[in-house]
């Protein structure tokens, strides 16, 4: 038999206080993990602040001419980043012009066309490609691709030389001894762009593939059931659904292409000239400038290099942030009730 406890009417019942405050070991945990977070904030934020702080004297000293001056002559107190910024943008654009279509096609192939047994292997292959160190792509571009790229550049100049982009000064594409002139077509921003393209391709491709694979299967099947061909289905469902991923993935690749150093340093022959002629020998990028000039830099030159690095960081940051916003805002990954 159960006996109920006798309620003592004289004792006042107090409601239990509810608190979200951590007690005991939890308190230690929360505080220590917060300390870790604060440390990382100080380290990473410190890098950004340090760059800005170091860049400030240079930016105030040279003013706007830091962005409009092309040459880099610290001895004569003339320096600016117009040439290297142009070079950075051009190399990145060449890289994206090559990487974007290839990444899109590969992503489409993996998500729509590849046979099922091959799919996971291909995904691994693309991920592996992303893990290949940039120095390897630099070697590949320098020793394997550059001779062909130079020949292609001669062909482009011969046939499309009237386009300012493909023009090459000081070289005659129709010369009888083209082998002697071909060095004018090597070590160019175009050659560097090819190597950089292979570095950013897997990253863009992975983002695109990820978004494509999240396309609601119901909508895909609906398109096929309505009589669409495979390409019709891709154009009507997969591509519109993945638009955010396509744009975002491309911009993430662009962000990485802007900061790429070692392949550019290996391939591009440095020159300080603000130019758009991508097939011509010579050019420079911000990161290659830093890698090439840090060794013999005095204190003020180092500040100038840090300022250049800071500008590069800001550009990359803007590109990455826009990419993140596009990926997040688009319908991609939102899913529907299939």
């Amino acid at each position: 038999m159960t006996t109920l406890p006798v309620q003592d009417a004289t004792v006042e019942v107090e409601p239990r206080t509810i608190s979200r405050k951590a007690t005991g070991a939890d308190r230690v945990f929360v505080h220590s993990i917060r300390a870790v977070g604060a440390t990382v904030l100080v380290i990473t934020g410190g890098v950004g602040l340090f760059l800005g702080w170091q860049a400030w004297p240079t930016l105030t000293h040279y003013g706007l001419s830091f962005f409009t001056e092309a040459s880099w002559q610290p001895e004569a107190d003339i320096l600016g980043i117009r040439a290297v910024l142009t070079g950075t943008v051009m190399v990145a654009l060449v890289a994206m012009a090559i990487a974007f279509p290839l990444a899109l096609l590969t992503a489409l192939y993996i998500s729509e066309y590849a046979p099922a047994f091959l799919r996971s292997t291909l995904v691994s292959l693309v991920d592996l490609m992303a893990a290949v160190p940039s120095i390897i792509w630099g070697l590949w571009g320098y020793f394997l691709i550059m001779p062909y790229a130079a020949e292609f550049a001669v062909w482009l100049d011969r046939n499309l030389g009237w386009v300012p982009l493909f023009d090459v000064h000081n070289a005659d594409p129709d010369a009888a001894l083209i082998d002697a002139a071909i060095s004018n077509y090597s070590f160019s921003m175009f050659c560097a762009g090819i190597a950089v393209a292979m570095m950013v391709l897997p990253m863009s491709c992975a983002v695109m593939r990820q978004v494509f694979s999240q396309t609601p299967p119901g909508e895909k099947e609906a398109a096929l059931a309505l009589g669409a061909t495979k390409w019709g289905m891709i154009r009507a469902v997969v591509l519109p659904f993945g638009r955010g991923g396509i744009i975002g993935g491309t911009m993430l690749g662009l962000g990485r292409a802007l900061g790429e150093t070692i392949a550019v340093l290996l391939i591009l022959s440095p020159s300080f000239e603000s130019k758009w002629r991508i097939l011509e020998i010579g050019g420079n990028t911000v990161s290659a400038l830093i890698a090439g000039r840090f060794g013999d830099a005095s204190k003020s030159q180092l500040s100038a290099l840090l300022a250049a690095g800071f500008v590069l960081f800001l550009i990359t940051l803007v590109v990455n942030t826009i990419a993140a916003m596009i990926v997040n805002r688009s319908r991609s990954g939102a899913g529907t009730d299939a």
């Binding site: 391709l201 992975a206 690095g309 590069l312």
Partner: protein, 414 residues
Amino acid sequence: MTTALAPDTEAAGTTFLPRYDDDAPPPVPRASLGRLPADEKFLRIGSIASALGLAWLITQRLLPLPGLPWFLVVAFLALLLVGAVTSGMTGGLVEVRDRAAATVITAGATVVGAVVLSAVVFVVVKGVEPLLHLNFYVDDMAGVGPKDPFDKGGIAHAVLGSLIQIGIAIAITLPLGIGTAVFMSEVGGRFSRVVRTVVEAMTALPSIVAGLFIYSVFIVALGLPRSGLAAALAIGVMMLPIIARAADVVLRVVPGGLREASLALGASRWRTVWYVVLPTARPGLATACILGIARGIGETSPVLLTSGNAQFFVVDPTDGVMNSLPLFIYSTVRSGEPNAIARAFAAATVLLAVVLALFVLARLIARPKRTKARRGRSRPAVDFVHSDPLVEMGPVAPAIDTTYTSHRIDQETS
């Protein structure tokens, strides 16, 4: 069906097996809707064959277009043309477009595959000669000139330097990175949002700028010599936001229900993190870390600025110049001597092998366990690699919160 064939029904509710008719024609095989029919298959193979033939005819006999690249370009165009003609014979413009799109997409993927293959094969073939000498793996380059034959000198000092540097970088970044990720995803609050914003912003930091930061702080401002420690710090500065962000993405994919169940059973918060969240996310965390490490070990530019280039064994990371694999490759290939270049390619093969080994390790660890997957309970939590490849890429967009969507779609498709 089962009862209709039985004429002498005895009682209702009895099941009779159907009687098979021996004289009936054999059953028609079911058409496979996914596979190509024979004539279509013939068309595909025939198109490729005729495109190759046309390309040979045009490049070798009709037009002066020598070389393999031209042959491939012409073959691709011919394939497009033949595909358009053959699909146009049976269908309309829609079919032609479909055929062309399939050709272009397959060709694009083939190009990418050929690029990866060519890079790997090229590096291995160019570096095969030094690789065949045992001393390449155990010696250093002290007193060995760029012209010396391959039976002298090796890259053991560079491998050792790489291992020491990446070891220090891991010892710094792994606890900090994962700790920050736990802080961002488990503790939360306004402060954690600030940390997350800054960490995400810093993933945009180009690696050369990370190197320049360490160079100007440690070597110029503090006057310390170039050393392995400085290089490790530069790699660490580069890796820290990458690992923190990747780990954060992984931890956010852990289903909230698991956390709530643990808390509801009376576990404290740190026990929830230690016994529920981290074990659930372990494969994903391992993948994120290993791929971050692969990134760090292959990065040349921060090392170029900070470590110096020793030709001999250096064990003490604070003891001045120390070489590492990527730096060795870069500086050796710059010398321009054929033997030195072959050595650089051999070192690149070793680096590639190291990265590949790390990559395979990551894949093995991240592979979801069969028994768990069958139960379907923790599938979205375990299958991180496929739920979010963004994790592996390093500086990427903030996580898309698609856990449940992707989970549902995964289940539907598989």
